[in-house]
Symmetry: C2
Subunit: 391 residues, 2 copies
Amino acid sequence: MAEIEFDPTTHPHRRLNPLTNEHVLVSPHRTKRPWLGQTEPPQPSSLPPYDPACYLCPGNARAGGQRNPAYAHTMVFENDYAAVLPAPGPAAPPAPHPLLTTAPVQGGCDVLCFHPRHDLTLARLTVPDIERIVNEWGAIYRRRGAQEGIKYVQIFENKGAMMGCSNPHPHGQVWSLSAVPSLPATELANLTAYAHSTPPTPSAPAGPHGRACMLCDYASFEVRVAREEGRVVVQNEHWVALVPWWAIWPFEIMLLPYARHIPSIAELTQEEKTAFAEILSRLTKRYDNLFSCSFAYSMGVHQRPVPAPGGDDGDDVAHLHLHFTPPLLRSASVRKFLVGFELMGEPQRDLTPEQAAARLRACSEVHYLDVAEQAASAEKPMSKDVDSTNS
Amino acid sequence: MAEIEFDPTTHPHRRLNPLTNEHVLVSPHRTKRPWLGQTEPPQPSSLPPYDPACYLCPGNARAGGQRNPAYAHTMVFENDYAAVLPAPGPAAPPAPHPLLTTAPVQGGCDVLCFHPRHDLTLARLTVPDIERIVNEWGAIYRRRGAQEGIKYVQIFENKGAMMGCSNPHPHGQVWSLSAVPSLPATELANLTAYAHSTPPTPSAPAGPHGRACMLCDYASFEVRVAREEGRVVVQNEHWVALVPWWAIWPFEIMLLPYARHIPSIAELTQEEKTAFAEILSRLTKRYDNLFSCSFAYSMGVHQRPVPAPGGDDGDDVAHLHLHFTPPLLRSASVRKFLVGFELMGEPQRDLTPEQAAARLRACSEVHYLDVAEQAASAEKPMSKDVDSTNS
Ligand SMILES: [Zn+2]
Ligand SMILES: [Zn+2]
């Protein structure tokens, strides 16, 4: 019997995520099945620049009764309904059974407004405005990290009604906790194991103590793959945005620095911060242009846990990176659900990461709404004439 | 300073899931925050018993062109757009980098119609009809398990438009693969580690070789907790349905046998199968009654991987159990989203598992639609009189 040759765009296979040690099932042959679901035309943005009912707009009152300042760039405040409360908290109670353990947790939850304009998102902010957000992330990481007992500062953004986020005003959150959450803890354990088990790659930047860094190795490899076959979507001198080999969501992105090993946002140089803002702008514009809509996603920053006071705690193996997990699959209204086999077995995807990267590479970096507005303003004189003739 | 005493209904804390070694963040104080979202009245069921457009109804044509028989109980067929394909498949290709591995996977995907009636669900089927489904699960587990190369038979049900399931006709799926999916593989590894590290509990059933079984230990403990403080929702002589200590979803349920260690559905006695059908009926009725709606969920059966030919492969440590992960939170229309911090950090919940169990214990085991139909038929003569008077 003749050997069948493996074709990643045809043959079902599993890919391993070395950051979590979990697999994703890839079923590329299914992209050939007929699509029976509905699709809808893209929705034009109709948000006002200021919404008197928005609790994040400048000058408005929040649920807790406080009033927002007339802020010009970013604004940070403590969440009125935080998931964790400040220290001191109670001690751990005795477990009723060894399998039923409780660990008290303390911390604080901050809300970061990205910009006063209600109708803008990262995709429509200027690079200097995005750099102000990057600076705020760094400031919160340092400020919260200096508080007694804080071990992890989880920066994230949840965007879009599809993600359960009811307020379109551009904002993110930062939850600072006395424990490292499960996902970054798992990643850290796997980065540590890699550093101690893998010989350094001469062509990749080295991690702490000259050891191998999984993400330095991975990113260095990806930026050298021929673009048209690879997973890289956008790249600048310091950062690369790619659809990871083991992506779960159709247009999932990992964004990370690839030129040197950088454990946390606090260690970025000025140039690296500007490049970070620049690539965030380019990536989010491509996202919006993919289906001509404000692209929903959850974004999270994974980085070094707060350094232990007094000396090397081994956590410098962390390599700063961002995950973007957007739910959309085929259009502005057709989403992927992570349910059924995916909740009970393992995640599954049809479109390959390489196909998704090619789709995102084909998108423009000029936002579709800016194109629409430019076209509208170019046509305005004529439209006016028509209007006045008809009236 | 006086010590604060820990109160699980007030103080934020983390609970560990020993099956996955992942935490859930519990923020019970947040259940006190005001609810600003919309709620909608429950939708009455208006499905016809037979839908000529449904590809699962008896006698109708499927996408692949085949026609369903006029089935009277259950019906099984192979999915026309399966996520995996039958063996033989190609060999694994060489990895372009050690971090970019590909493992080909083979198998088959079956669809199991629970009943010919388009408008019924587990919650409205009779216990004998549910027992027929249990028997089909066992038959598929054995049939697929006997096929060359199959290592795992993942039985699941995905129910409700909210879960992306567009067809309300009662049905589940079974994906049989040449690899153990990530989640059951992780559970199996943790069950194995527990068996080898924990002394047996005299009051709990023993696992293979007289060793401790994590789920025998856990279930035996839970059924002995005083009902009003505990997590048990329904129990019969062989099975218990409980909101696990480490539940992520508001009304998540684990359903498992607690009277003896049972690795797989193939090892159930007749009495255990009938009791399984009985508790499935009682649990799903409570689910529907919680918010007077057809309760959406994903359900999965975790059990022993397919036994290796010729001898003890150690996988008898598996303890048969079902997970139910329903998204609803506050009403028929207010759901929980697993996004933001939960995707990037770890799952989080406000309502405690104990509070959720109490809510489900308070629900009736008579389905709300049956109550409504009985009330309607009792009133019919009078309604008729009124109608004829008015006409
Ligand atoms: Zn690195
Ligand atoms: Zn057991």
